[in-house]
């Protein structure tokens, strides 16, 4: 019954790991044509489904067993919840009569995941299943997207029930608003017309809503520069002259100055995260703020809003575009251009050529392999360097753990992307710390012959934590050295993947070119400068115009 429902929902790929309580479901899977990707740890199944969902826009589907199988999903679910990724997860549960008895492999997974799912269900009767399945897919993939978990006791899997699947559901407490309020939209139009120094500040909501085209039209009609949060990268072409980069803690100087100086911020599908706003009291004090978001609870949560618009960002932006005339913001754009030439993205400290610079590696990956590519990152310094230096041109091609900051996300997410977009190149940019959090998936990529380039930015440290120890804890590098890490080239080879090492700029370029010419999984171990820091940087709880580069205040 579940598999028929998945067919009706046009699910073509499932990510999972079997176990006792889901045996009945896996038994049905044995004869079913749907593709199931067996991972080596349940956490990787969620991250892979997450990557798949971010690339396709469709809910990622996960199967796991009860108890530890289910609890291993939790980090991945929390990650998807924070980044609003649509997902439907199925967990097996002990038989109904055993629930609440601390039975073998029993965990109250619906209780555990209430705070990190959009909704969840414990199915008590197979007759409820069709309704619950339809609701789950509907809730996950509408409104503000998010993960939905369905926990199914083993005896319910075995129960026979009438299957009548209706995708049209009516949930009294769930009616997302899509159309923006007409009055607020015209207030926004007026504000945009009046603004002398407007900026668009967009986030992940643009990507989920498929609003890139509307965004481009708005920016180009009204000549408004665009700033994108980490989650928003790709919603606007990274090589466009109107694009100012990412704001916040490791954002571009121009983006932070522009937000600080702007007289109008058009915030679309963003949630004003602390990593973006810095100290709230001094954030965008000169600006009126229009905030467009599908989730009313995000509006006014962190920052006071002048024009709130609840709705689908694509629909609202299209309305705005219809009502706007070509604008002129020349003086403002000139000021921005000055900042851009005065403060380019720093390329790394120290003498060039002596050591391999991580920024150089990312730029080479972007230059040589960036066309038609999907990039998945892990979390830490390499993630920020990728956000700064890799040119992301298209939406749904940049996968990163934004809200939760989950080390170990990138590699499995790249696996999901690989299955979601067979015609695209997939590059996983990871660190020596992050990679070891899901390194076991080398078996999955080798076994399934998945074309993925794994670029390990290896600095032998938990680099981002070390950077904070460097700046805020007098270089007391407590437990951030990754001594004892394996030789990644030999590990990859042991799993059966191809692998190279690069220790100089020339070797890096060569290794990337070679990897691009090969099939199957390829790992490159880039031995980069161990003490390179990510700049620009805004210290936590400082104003975002308070920027340090290379240890110096600018």
């Amino acid at each position: 019954m579940i598999l028929s429902a998945l067919q009706k929902e046009k699910v073509d790929t499932i990510f999972g790991f079997p176990g006792g309580a889901v045996l009945p479901l896996y038994d049905k899977l044995y004869d079913d044509p749907v593709k199931h990707l067996l991972v080596r740890h349940e956490q990787a199944a969620v991250h892979a489904a997450d990557g798949y969902a971010r690339v396709t826009g469709k809910p990622g589907v996960v199967f796991a067993t009860s108890g530890p199988g289910a609890t291993n999903l939790v980090t991945g679910i929390a990650n998807a919840y924070m980044d609003s990724v649509p997902m439907v997860l199925f967990t097996g549960q002990v038989a109904k009569s055993f629930i609440g008895t601390d039975a073998f492999q029993e965990a109250d997974i619906t209780g555990i995941t209430i705070p990190v799912t959009k909704h969840n269900y414990l199915v008590k009767d197979a007759a409820e299943l069709p309704g619950i399945l339809a609701e789950a897919f509907y809730i996950a993939s509408t409104g503000r997207r998010g993960p939905v978990l369905i926990d199914i006791p083993k005896d319910v899997f075995d129960q026979e029930a009438y299957f009548d699947y209706n995708r049209e559901v009516d949930i009294p407490g769930y009616k997302p608003t899509y159309e923006g309020h007409v009055g607020q939209v015209s207030r926004a139009v007026k504000a945009i017309r009046k603004a002398k120094k407007p900026v668009i500040f967009g986030g992940g909501g643009l990507i989920r809503a498929g609003a890139s085209k509307a965004l481009r039209e708005l920016a180009e009609t009204a000549k408004i520069p665009v700033i994108l949060s980490l989650m928003g990268l790709g919603a606007y072409p990274g090589d466009s002259p109107l694009f100012l980069g990412m704001p916040g803690m490791h954002g571009s100087v121009t983006a932070n100055y522009a937000l600080t100086e702007a007289d109008l911020i058009i915030a679309t599908g963003v949630r004003f995260d602390d990593r973006v706003t810095g100290k709230l009291e001094s954030f965008a004090n000169n600006a009126r703020i229009i905030h467009i978001d599908i989730d009313p609870a995000e509006i006014g949560k962190n920052v006071a809003i002048d024009v709130p618009i609840v709705g689908d960002v694509r629909l609202v932006l299209e309305e705005l575009v219809k009502k706007l005339k070509p604008g002129s913001t020349e003086a403002w754009l000139k000021q921005i251009n000055n900042w851009q030439s005065q403060f380019p993205m720093p390329l790394g400290s120290g003498k060039n050529g002596q050591t391999l610079k991580p920024q150089f590696v990312i730029r080479e990956l972007s230059r040589l392999g960036g066309e038609n590519a999907i990039v998945a990152t892990d979390v830490g310094q390499h993630q920020m360097w990728t956000a700064q230096h890799f040119i992301i041109r298209e939406p749904q091609t940049f996968l990163t753990s934004g809200g939760l900051g989950t080390m170990g996300y990138g590699f499995p997410a790249a696996i999901g992307a690989r299955l979601a977009a067979p015609d695209k190149r997939v590059i996983c940019i990871t660190g020596d710390g992050s990679f070891q959090m899901n390194i076991q998936e080398l078996a999955t990529v080798v076994h399934n012959e998945l074309d993925i380039i794994i670029a390990v930015i290896n600095n032998r440290y938990l680099g981002m934590v070390r950077q904070w120890q460097d700046i805020f804890y007098e270089k007391r590098y407590s437990h951030t050295s990754m001594q004892g890490s394996p030789d990644f080239v030999r590990v990859a080879e042991a799993y059966g993947a191809k692998a190279f090492r690069a220790t100089t700029s020339e070797e890096a370029t060569e290794a990337i070119e070679k990897a691009l010419s090969l099939k199957g999984p390829v790992l490159i171990d880039f031995m980069v400068d161990p003490e390179e820091n990510v700049y620009p940087m805004v210290a936590p709880n400082h104003s975002i115009s308070d920027i340090i580069i290379g240890g110096e205040q600018i």
């Binding site: 209430i114 705070p115 949930i171 407490g173 009313p296 609870a297």
Partner: protein, 164 residues
Amino acid sequence: MKHVLAVLVENKPGALTRVSGLFSRRGFNIENIAVGETLTPGISRMTITVEGSETLIEQVMKQLHKLINVIRVSNLSAEPSVMRELMLIKVRAEVGNRSDIQQIVETFRGKVVDVSPNSMVIEVTGNEEKMEAIKLLLEHFGILEVVRTGKVALLRGSKITREA
């Protein structure tokens, strides 16, 4: 300021956990909560008293609304409304002072619902001030135990909080 929220929820397993969990998770303080059935089968009504600023209450209401099982959230403190709470008080009572207690109970339009050789159980309904006032007066005799239902409230006039 104290706000009294009427929250209509689908009567599904875990609905109460979802609501109370939301409060603790987001650092909102529930002062009290009362739950009961409504006229519509399958829908319960929670009356939740929360202390906080206007901005905080707005965020509480929006977050509550995001729960799939929550159908409607309204702030009854924003409009004229009647609020009541029921309290049972077990007070020490000897033959000699029963009539004194009886008099206080009558003044507050309460009821004596149980009498034993050395105690009485009294039922009172009303607003918070009334509860505190009778408690204060009965303390003199020795209060053994108190139980309260938490506040329930309805809007004044014919306006209602719709259930669907």
